[in-house]
């Protein structure tokens, strides 16, 4: 596949968002808020940045992605479907007992999923393992790991961050989805993980701060990250939870709730008017 250019990526991000809304609507279950906040980042990764092959999902030299905030599976599945790992129609079967599309990413059931995730805080460790293996085998693939700003309250993240630094994993790029909301409220109210940049910098990471809903800034950040040598990179992406659907934006209530028919139609209408 040719890498999509900036405008094509913007159009694709709209498709991905529609996919997210459909996925959650048909299941009447799932997590739209955080899925929408990472939609632009995942779109750039799957349609420009990552070296992957939908015909050979387990290709040894592929770039890898660990969606550590696994509850945002609708965003990942939407990207995988539009990228050709499976049919877009399958999105409507999400969370159904007969579907392979599990509530949280399952590497054995879903083509294109590189790591099973869902229990928060575990993904950076497995991403480290993949990056270490890449270095051992002298392969040049890159490993991307997406963490939530609430998720990094888990202690294991910091155990893993120490290890990313120890093993100088410059083939690892961590992305923090900093939408500032978690289930019980804002990050500051619940258990502040701020200052995220200073924390990761002190753990030995190169820090890049961007607007995580701006395609240009996302593209540039990945370019910069690729040229960082001798240490891991952490992109802190300021995002809007529920981005793209007016009534979901910055609303903590849309963390894990499905839209009803009226809300669904409104969401689709809003996304289509953005084209």
């Amino acid at each position: 596949m040719e890498k999509l250019d900036k405008n094509e990526l913007k159009q694709m991000a709209i498709k991905i968002r529609k996919g997210i809304i459909e996925t959650v609507y048909y299941a009447q279950s799932g997590h739209p808020g955080g899925s929408l906040s990472i939609a632009d980042i995942l779109t750039v990764l799957y349609f420009r940045e990552m070296n992957i092959n939908p015909q050979d999902p387990n290709w040894e030299d592929r770039d890898r992605l660990v969606l550590s905030k696994g509850h945002c599976s609708p965003a990942l599945y939407s990207c995988l479907a539009y990228r050709g790992f499976f049919s877009v129609d399958e999105l409507k079967t999400f969370r159904n007992i007969n579907s392979f599309l599990q509530g949280h990413p399952d590497k054995n059931k879903i083509p294109g999923v590189d790591m099973t995730t869902g229990s928060l805080g575990q993904g950076l460790s497995s991403a480290n393992g993949m990056a270490i293996a890449g270095k051992m085998d002298k392969k040049d693939y890159r490993v991307y790991c997406i963490l939530g700003d609430g998720e990094i309250e888990e202690g294991q993240i910091w155990e893993a961050a120490m290890a990313s630094n120890k093993y100088k994993l410059d083939n690892l790029c961590v992305i923090i989805d900093n939408n500032n909301l978690q289930i019980d409220g804002t990050i500051e109210e619940v258990m502040s993980s701020y200052p995220i940049d200073e924390k990761f910098r002190s753990f030995g990471f190169e820090i890049i701060k961007i607007d995580g809903n701006d395609i240009d800034e996302i593209i540039n950040a990945f370019e910069v990250a690729k040229n960082v040598k001798g240490k891991p990179t952490c992109i802190i992406a300021k995002t809007i939870k529920g981005k793209g659907i007016s009534y979901m934006e910055n609303q903590v209530g849309w963390h894990g709730k499905a839209p009803n028919e009226e809300q669904y139609e409104l969401a689709i209408k809003e996304l289509e008017s953005n084209k």
Partner: protein
């Protein structure tokens, strides 16, 4: 049974070294306990394939999972209480659910850890590990068996938990003894009773068997090294052939070997099983042998069953 004694953690360290020579995909992770778990032998010989992950067990297990997705065969080591206990969720969600090829070789299991006391004496790991789908659970009894198992599990694709111990115990088997994962080893043909034993308790069972023989009581010992999948056949066979069934383990009586045997018996051949184990209490400090006597998980408790 020879007089030479050796802890299975020692056997593990030596077996890893040998395995490292034969299989380039084997990598070893430890959590700042390499000199105690004996992975230090591998670390010295193969520094590029050894990762000391520091005092961070959850991350060690998760890292192993990531390595396994890239065709490495990680052997991870720490004390049993920190592996099966502290990193349980990582073992569950990052290894067992995705069915990844990670070997968890946990040393210092059971009260035979000794002096360190209850915080370090893991008596729930068999229970925790055997309820995890996809997991194989092995509890070897001596040096020969441990060495065979460490090599053999590299050929099984999937998660394996191996329960190793600190206490030096007798070498039970001849070096040419053959084993099979999932198949228990029957020692003796006696019909006056069966003692099902695992880990450090196998030598205790054999000691009881020898003493009872002098008293004219002929029992058999069944070394259940594979707790999951358990050898159902031999359990039913012994229930049919022998007068008394006893189990003995350095583990909580809830959920361990005795429970696993009871599950088979209730399914297939209801029979009474006299369980010997830790009676749902935490351990304490002391010398390993003293603790075995204190908690009644030694040969003497088996003898009492024949008074």
């Amino acid at each position: 049974m020879e007089d030479v004694k050796k802890a299975t953690r020692e056997s593990y360290g030596e077996a890893l070294l040998e395995l490292g020579k034969n299989n380039e995909n084997v990598v070893v992770l430890d959590a700042d306990l390499a000199s105690a778990t004996k992975t230090s032998l591998f670390a010295k010989q193969y520094p590029d394939r050894f990762f000391d992950m520091g005092i961070a067990e959850a991350n060690m297990i998760g890292t192993a999972a990531g390595l396994a997705t890239c065709n490495k065969i990680p052997y991870t080591s720490t004390f049993a209480v920190f592996a099966a206990g502290r990193a349980y969720d990582q073992i569950r969600n990052s290894i067992c659910y995705p069915n990844l090829n990670v070997k968890i070789c946990a040393t210092h299991a059971g009260i035979t850890v000794g002096e360190d006391g209850a915080t370090h004496q893991m008596i729930e790991d068999i229970s925790l590990m055997r309820t995890l789908p996809n997991m194989t659970v092995i509890s070897p009894s001596d040096d020969v068996q441990t060495k065979w198992i460490i090599a053999e599990i590299s050929k099984i694709k999937g998660p394996v938990y191996v329960r190793l111990t600190r206490l030096a115990t007798p070498i039970i088997y001849e070096s040419d003894q053959t084993f099979e994962i999932g198949k228990a080893v029957q020692i003796g043909e006696g019909t006056d009773g069966t003692v099902f034993a695992t880990g450090v308790c196998v030598a205790e069972a054999i000691k009881a068997q020898e003493i009872l023989k002098e008293r004219g009581i002929d029992i058999r010992v069944v070394d259940i090294h594979t707790i999951k999948p358990i050898d159902r056949k031999i359990i039913v066979k012994c229930a049919k052939e022998t007068k008394k069934l006893i189990s003995i383990e350095d583990h909580n009586m809830i959920g361990g070997l005795g429970s696993a045997i009871s599950e088979v018996l209730t399914d297939e051949y209801p029979a009474k099983l006299e369980k010997i184990g830790i009676k749902d209490t935490f351990g304490k400090s002391g010398k390993a042998e003293e603790l075995m006597k204190y908690f009644g998980i030694n040969y003497e408790t088996i003898l009492e069953k024949y008074r």
